[in-house]
Each structure stands twice: as C-alpha cells, then as structure tokens.
C-alpha cells in the first residue's frame, strides 16, 4: 500500500466520487433523521428541533416496550428455529458426496435470488385457511378417519366431528414461520463454512475413544462450529429484528414489530420525530448485537494466540 501523499491527485480522483456519494446520499439523510429524533411536532407537519428527549422517553412507554420485547422474541425464536433446522442441513451438506455438495449448496442459496416480497406472498397462499397446508392436513384427517371407520372406531369420532382448519395466517406463528423461511439460508451458509473446515479425524478420535455420537456431537462438533453458529445467529437475528414486510403481510394486529411502528409514524401517523427516535433505537440495538459479535471474535482470537 502506498501513502496517499505520494500520489494525491490519483487518490482524490479515485476517492472523491464514492466518498461524496456516501456523504451526501447516505450520511446526511441519516444525520437528518438523528436530528429529527430530537425535534417536537408543531402543528400537523411542522417540526422544530428543540433538543428534547421526549421522543426517546415515549419509546419507554409500556406499549412500545412491549413491541420491542415482541420483536426480540420473534427474532430470537427465528434464530433458534433456523439453528435447529439449519445445523443438520449444513452437516448433511458437508458430509455429502463431493458432487452433491455444490448442488445442495446451490439449492440453499437459490431462494436468495427470488424476490422477498414474492416469497412472502407465496407463503400466504400456502398458509391460508383455504391454503395447501390445511388442504394436506384435511386429506390426512380424512384418511385417518377412513382407517378408523374401517377398524370400527368411526362412531367414536376420535378426531372430532369435522375437520377444523388451522389458523396459520395473520398471527404470531405466521410471522415466525415467515421469518425463518426468509432467513434460513443466512444460517446454513456460515454453519457450512465452519463445519467444512472441521477436522474429521477429531470426531473419529472421539468415537474411537468410546464417545457416543451424541457426546461427540456435543463436545467436539458444536464447540468447533461455534464461530459459525455465532455468525449465523447474528446474520439471522439482525435482519429479523428489523423486518417490516413479514410481520406486515403475515402478522395479525398484535404481531407488529418495531419496523411496523416506525413505518406508521412516517406514513400515516405523521409523527416523524417519534419515528426517527424509534429508528435510531433500532439502529443502536443492531450495533449492540454487532459489537457483541466483535467482542466474541476478539476474545477467541486472543485465546488462539495465548
């Protein structure tokens, strides 16, 4: 690398356009929102920047605290479910025959290239009360009933008189299903990356020394895959925490997340200062999660050296 002073002209020609763009069309808008978060409403649309903290205090209102809490629970559940399903998938891909590995990985990545809105929309059609999941369940229900009648238990109505479709849409479950659906690949990829580097002879050694598969998994595979688990968890948790579209389209009235409240402040409630404060709170939470990961990375790097 050369010092910029050696070639200041080239340095500025290369550096100026992207820096100016970032400054003007990203940092200035962001700062504007930050400033607005200290403003007060005057009339319907007028705002005056007074340096007030009232917008932040308002976010501590139980109503909004509850929404923050709910967003945390949704994002946390999404992370957990993605991990539970993503780990076996990553493991299966790593230990699959070589020619299958690329295909399986591609299958995990491919949904990435499909529009998020379209994927969420596709989920609606599947989860509706008159959707395919309920259709399939009803079919199984009918079959089970037929079997029961066949063996002479039909009159007992063990499964209830009629098939009741499950309410899978417009509730909290739907939001978590939708978030997992969208974020699962983010979990599988880092898990795959760290499991791929894992030295297989370590597992073999554990098994040879008499550990059960479960014990080898818990004491060898999981600790060695921990960096991948942490990366995956962060990559799922952060975007899930700030999601707007999934709770908006799949959630019910009580499954609002922070982003939905922010959107309402800007688009319909017209309380930009409060929306700005909420935006920055969400951003601080995001940075907090990232800082935790950086801290973890530094600690493990320190251990490696020591």
């Amino acid at each position: 690398m050369e010092n910029w002073r050696r070639n200041p002209l080239v340095f500025w020609v290369i550096g100026l356009p992207p820096t100016a763009w970032l400054l003007l069309f990203f940092l200035v808008p962001l700062t504007l929102v930050w400033v607005l978060s200290f403003a007060e409403l005057r009339g319907v649309v007028d705002m005056e920047v007074t340096g007030t903290l009232s917008n932040y205090w308002r976010a501590l209102d139980p109503l909004y605290l509850q929404i923050f809490g709910k967003s945390f629970v949704f994002a946390g559940l999404t992370t957990l479910v993605s991990l539970v399903f993503g780990f076996p998938v990553a493991l299966a891909i790593v230990f699959a025959p070589r020619r299958w590995r690329a295909v399986l990985l591609l299958l995990v990545i491919l949904p990435f290239w499909t529009n998020l809105l379209i994927r969420t929309y596709a989920l609606i059609a599947v989860l509706r009360t008159r959707g395919f999941v309920n259709f399939a369940l009803e079919w199984f229900w009918d079959q089970a009933n037929a079997v029961l009648s066949f063996v002479g238990l039909g009159s007992l109505q063990l499964l209830g008189g009629r098939f009741e479709p499950l309410e899978l849409l417009y509730n909290n479950t739907a939001v978590v299903i939708g978030l997992v659906y969208v974020h699962l690949p983010f979990m599988v990829l880092p898990l795959y990356a760290s499991l791929e580097k894992l030295d297989r002879s370590l597992i073999e050694a554990a098994l040879d020394l008499g550990a059960s598969q479960l014990r080898a998994f818990a004491t060898v595979v999981v600790p060695l895959a921990l960096p991948g688990i942490i990366s995956g968890a962060i990559l799922v948790f952060i975007p899930a925490l700030g999601s707007f579209l999934t709770p908006d389209l799949l959630g019910g009235t009580d499954s609002q997340m922070i982003a939905n409240v922010i959107e309402r402040q800007f688009k319909s409630a017209n309380d930009w200062p409060f929306g700005s404060a909420l935006s920055f709170l969400l951003m601080y939470l995001t940075f907090g999660a990232l800082a935790l990961r950086a801290l973890y990375a530094r600690r493990t790097a320190g251990q490696g050296r020591g």
Partner: protein, 279 residues
Amino acid sequence: MATPAGPLDYTRRLWVRLMLLVVFVFLYAPIATLIAFSFNDSRRNIVWNGFTLKYYEKAMANDGLIEAFANSLTIALVSTAVSIVLGALVAVLLWRFRFPGRTGYEGAMALPIVIPEICMGVSMLAFFSRIGWPSDLIWPFNLSAIIIAHVSFSFPFVAVVVRARLEGFNRELAEAAQDLGATEWQVFRDVMIPFLRPGLVAGGMLAFTLSLDDFVITFFTSGPNTVTFPVKVYSMVRFSVTPEVNAASTVLIVVTVVMTAAALWMQHRAGVKAEEAAG
C-alpha cells in the same frame, strides 16, 4: 452394492435425510405452488382446473403492472451501472492507499450494509422531502430519487465483492506496466480492469438483484407516479391474492433465475479463459 454407512456418513442417516427433505420442501413448496397455480384455470387458486395462460395475458394487459416492471428494470440497470463504478473506486482506493482515518472510512462504507432497511428507508424519505427533491419530472428522471437510494445501498456491496477479487491481484503487474511507461489511466484500463472483470460482473449481478428485489427502501422513496414492481405487487397483495399476481411473480422469478444463471456462466467462462491464458 451400497457400502454400509460409516460413522461419519451423516448424510446417509435417515433422520438427517428427513431433515433435508423437510427443509427443502419448506423452502421450495411455496414457490413451486405459486408458479404452478399461475397456470391454473381457477380464480380460487386451490384446486387444479386445467392449464391456462389467461393470467399471463391479464398481467400483460395490466398497464400499471407493465409500467411498474419497466420502472423496476430501468432503476436496476441505472443503479447497477453507477454502483459498479462507485464500488470499484472504493475497492481500489482501500486496496491501494494508506490514509488517515482509513478504519473509520471502512466502517462508514459498511454502514449501508448493516443498518436495518427500515432505518435507511425513512432517512431517504426524510432527506428527499426535506430538500424538496422534485417529484414531478418526466420519465425516467422522476425515478431519480429511487435510483439514488438504490445506489446508496448497493455500491458498498459491490465494493466488498471487488475488494475480494483485488486480494488476488499481483501488484507487480501494475508496477511493471508503469515501469514500461504506462500512465496511471493506462494501467487502470489495461491491467486492473481486465483482471477485475469477474469481480465487476459478480458485483454488478449482486447490485442488480438487490435493486430488483428491494421493497422496503423503495416503498419510502416512491411516489404515486413512480411505482416499482415490488411496490405494485405489494399493493395488489394487500388487496387480495390473485392468479394475476402469481403470473407476474413467475415472470420476475424466471427473469432473475435466467440472469443469475447467465452471470454465473459468464463468470465461469471468464475463469476458464483466465486459466487458459495463464496456462
């Protein structure tokens, strides 16, 4: 004859296979149903009533939808072109120069990647309305606010991809060219750009997909006359689930898959060519 599964053949264990099956069904069944039922001759979308293309005809005849599609493609093309240039410049800058505040600069460049989309969306809304960005220009200039927002979130991604490619660049090549009398510009055009091409293609592909895919940030920057495809689909979905939306979505899925395949193939070709040239 199949050999018995070894202790590490996890992929051959039944429960792992079942898990794989469950996950892939979960990932693909909704999309597959969406595509299948765009050809279904039934409004209620549930039972298969026979093959039809009428929803594609309907979608084609829907001017709003076609206009939104054209807007989306225009925005994606322009913002990709700008993002490639800006992203490549950032990558070269960080690869080549040492300067005060470099770490902070890198951090600032990563910000658009890490901050929640909703925060970026509202800041763009606040910015454009506060500075009074004109919203009544003629097409395609009325798309400028959306294009600017899209460039802001895509070029840092391009920078990351191009920088990864630059890691493998042999600085001596550039020095040799300079020793032989090439100017800065000639080195850039004749040595760096050809080497960077696969990175530029990959970065551009990423930027294009990000732009075409974006809903949240566009939702906050688009007006009644500047509707993009995702924003249009969103309003249609809010209204009701119709086979017409299925048809339009299928077209978009096919467009992205074909584009991705083409870009991957081009990248592969570039790699093969580079190997041939080296060998």
